[in-house]
Every structure is written in structure tokens, then in C-alpha cells.
Symmetry: C2
Subunit: 246 residues, 2 copies
DNA sequence: CTAAATTGTGTAAAATTTACACATTACGAA
DNA sequence: TTCGTAATGTGTAAATTTTACACAATTTAG
């Protein structure tokens, strides 16, 4: 109560051994990563889910996740899941949020770190041999196992916001894409309609699209030009966001 | 390799007991929370640091943190630190990022969840009896213990961005404040100069400020009007952010 | 009473965003 | 081969938002 500064000071100092024993004691919890993997197909935003591996949640879908091993980096654990499930290596992935409510998991205390990933569905379609995996349209995702619905929704919100300030969306497309496809991606993610001319104007003005001199193939109408995204130029010029607006 | 769907399916099903044993096995790590507590004083953005409690880092400052107990929610753990160190209860706090590199902490595997908090320094100044705690100007924060420098920088970046889309800044001020003080907060956080008339115009246009009919006291010049922020109105009208811009 | 400091206010120019229409190209069917 | 269909590609005018900028009013201190 009436502790002096000196006493407080003393109280807050710990030897390395004390800390170490605290770290290695029962003060530990299971840690998992859960991946919300988005894809884009048939002009719909989709998310990759797996049938829950717990009997109790047998009829529910869940996110792809796994426990983090004691000698595994968090990011590595997330990448590992992605590699394991989709066969994909160099994919876009970002940590979104950590969910740590005491009773969030029925098997005991499990804190989970949610990651968001955006991949090109075409690239790995063949890898999904496992019929327990399925691409769901985001609008129809309900009743996920555990607290995965909440996690999914947080990640979807995150995506909707993030895609507006960072060119994430391109990860859902092949490296060559038409402006219409790009617009479809944005419309699907944000669930809005955009004006075609203004959309094109905006992207051309940003000056990150490179006309590669090719055109769409096998479309039943005038083919659109194909572009690629110049990430280097983007990195150099990217906006230092500034403006109060809420 | 040539596993059938059926086989994959089987492989991915686990009984509750198996899961439970995985959760309770050695697959566990220590988990901590670290709080980056911002304050605003003398027109400077400051952060609350403590002398490292580890001998090895004796001459370094570090963030306020603690291990999360097995039966403690993450958010609760973070609030607890804040309560313990500042005596403050209802403060603004948000989770920012989780840092989980294997070797980030010298005492063993400790994954840490970083939280950002914004408080009014005046409100609790008296609580800092502990002379191991100190408010540092953000610009002069260097060489924090462990990976705390990295965590601090991530949180500072987060703040600079977040403050532009959400009225966080107000948490640094008393409930009654002048527009000049508000502008000072924004200038300090963003480290830029703003045009006074445009700043006022912008905030008045947002229509969240309520003139409470009082004025500044004891200023050696014409006193400014005092306002409060109407959070309810904000919640109702807040912007659903929409616009591609990067 | 005067000087110093800071508040409070409006407008014109510039930049950005929005709304909107028509000619062009390729395919497929008759 | 021609025509209908479906989508691409393009510019401009109006509206809105953002920026730059100056002077009178109020209070305190001396």
C-alpha cells in the first residue's frame, strides 16, 4: 500500500532464473494457427474450409489450423498449413488477430493466431484431392465449428478494409489479368458495384499496371487487354496514408 | 502420395481424446502480453516504459508485460497490466499483433501478444510511485530490451494509421478539450503540421464535437472554447470506409 | 492602455470524384 | 457473309472535396 519507490523497484526485479522458471512452469498454453484462405472463382469470393476433425462438430466446417510446435515460428506454422493443404509456396499471407478466450476451444486452453491468405484457385485446384476440403462462397459461410465463425468474420472484415489500401486483390488472380477480372475481384470482395470507366481511370492513374501486349483468349466477345502488376513500382511509390477521416 | 480421398479423410479425423492429449502435451508455450501505453503531455506523444527486470537488459527499457495465466483471457491479462501499472480502469485498448519468433525471448519460448493503449496522463500521474516507470517521448525510444523495439515500432505505426480512421486520439485528452489541444494530439501522433482552419472545418463537418459552453482557464491569451466528443453519434454515423487508394 | 499571443472565421482556386454514352471488336448464329 | 450480341475502350462536364491563405476579436501581462 504505502510502498516506497525503492520497494516497488525491488519488487519488479527478477533474476533470469526466476523468469525462466516462470516461462517453463505450468504457465503455458497450447497455441494454434488458423488460416482463412480466400480464393476467387466464378466471380465469387470463396474461402477454403475443412470438415471439422472433432466428432462433436462433425457436421460443421472449420478453418484450416494446427497446433504450433514449441520450436516453430508462428509464421512458419501458418505457411506450413498452407503448403500442406494447397501445395502452394509463395503465397500472400498476413497475421490478422489472436483469439485467446479461455473457453474458446472444447479440448482445453488453446490460443489461436488467425492468418489471412489470398491465393489463385486455378493454381492449385488439382491439389485438393481431399474431399474433406471445400471452397465455400463467403456469403454462405455459417455455423463454423468452435469460434471459427467469429474468426472468419474478423478476417473477412479485415480483408475488405485492407484491400482498399493495399493491392492484395491481385493475389487472387493469375499474374496476367484483364481489367474486368480485376474489377470483378474488387466487386466480389467489397460486395459493391463499381463504375467501369472510373475503375479503369483510377488504376491507370496509379500507374502500377503494365500492358503486356496480350489479350484474353476464348471469350465470346471482344477480348480485353491483359496486364501485369508492377510490384516494384508499387513499393517505391506506395502511398504514405495521411488524412483524418472517420 | 497416391492417397485416395477416403484415406485422406480418415487421416484428418481425430477423436476428442487425441486432440485433448495434443493440447495438453508438450505442445505448449509460454504466452505473454505486452502493452504499449501512449500518453500525451507537453504537446508530445509519450510511451510508458519500465526498466527491464532482467539483469542482462538492466540498462534497457522495456514495455509493460506479463505472462498470461492458463485461466486468464488475453484481453483480461492486458487490462490487468494497465490497471496494475496506472491504476486506470476504463481505458482504450486494442490488440495489435502477435510476435512469435522462436528465439525472441532469452528465457525460452515466449509468444507475446502486443496491445496498444491510449490514456490521459493527467488522470493517473500520481499513481506512478514506482520510479522504474517512465514516460518517454516516442522519438527518443531506442534500444528497448528483447524485441520490444520492434514491437513498439509496429504499435506506433499502427497508431499513426489507426488514428486517421478512428477517433482514438481523444483518449489522450481530458473529456473536455479545446480544438487546439485536439490538433496538437494529431500533430504529435502523425508528426506533421496541420492547417488550423482546415482542421477545425474538418472536425466541425464531421459533427461529433459538442460545444459545452465552457472555455479554457488560465491561459495567457484568448481562451478557446471547450468541446466534448459525442461517441454515440459517432457510432451511429461512422464511416463505412470505401475507396480504393494505394 | 498597450503589446503579445492565440482564437475564430470565409472564400477562391485546385484537385479529385462522380456520373454518364457511344464507337469498336470478336464471336456465333442464321 | 452478315447481323445480333456482348463486352471492351475511351472523355468530358458537373459536383464535391481539399487546399491555401489573412484579418478582426479576445484575453492576459506588464
Amino acid at each position: 500500500m504505502a510502498a516506497t519507490s525503492k520497494e516497488n523497484h525491488t519488487k519488479s526485479i527478477k533474476t533470469f532464473k526466476v523468469i525462466q522458471s516462470e516461462v517453463n512452469s505450468i504457465n503455458r498454453v497450447a497455441l494454434s494457427v488458423d488460416c482463412v484462405i480466400f480464393g476467387f472463382d466464378e466471380n465469387k469470393l470463396k474461402v477454403l474450409l475443412i470438415r471439422s476433425d472433432l466428432k462433436k462438430y462433425q457436421c460443421n466446417w472449420s478453418l484450416l489450423g494446427d497446433l504450433v510446435k514449441p520450436h516453430e515460428d508462428l509464421d512458419s506454422a501458418a505457411y506450413h498449413i498452407l503448403k500442406q493443404r494447397t501445395g502452394l509456396n509463395d503465397v500472400f499471407m498476413e497475421q490478422v488477430h489472436t483469439f485467446g478466450e479461455v473457453n474458446r476451444h472444447p479440448a482445453g486452453r488453446v490460443v489461436t493466431v488467425a492468418y489471412c491468405s489470398l491465393i489463385n484457385i486455378q493454381h492449385h485446384r488439382i491439389k485438393i484431392l481431399d474431399n474433406e476440403l471445400h471452397w465455400h462462397e463467403v456469403d454462405s459461410v455459417t455455423d463454423l465449428a468452435f469460434d471459427h465463425q467469429k474468426i472468419f468474420e474478423a478476417c473477412y472484415c479485415w480483408l475488405q478494409k485492407r484491400v482498399q489500401e493495399h493491392p492484395l486483390g491481385l493475389n487472387l488472380l493469375p499474374s496476367k489479368f484483364s481489367l474486368r477480372e480485376l474489377q470483378n475481384v474488387y466487386e466480389a470482395i467489397l460486395n459493391i458495384k463499381l463504375d467501369r470507366r472510373n475503375f479503369r481511370k483510377k488504376f491507370f492513374a496509379m500507374d502500377f499496371l503494365v500492358d503486356i501486349g496480350e489479350e484474353e483468349q476464348n471469350v465470346p466477345h471482344r477480348p480485353g487487354k491483359l496486364y501485369k502488376f508492377d510490384y516494384e513500382k508499387y513499393e517505391k511509390k506506395k502511398k504514405t496514408w495521411s488524412g483524418i477521416d472517420f
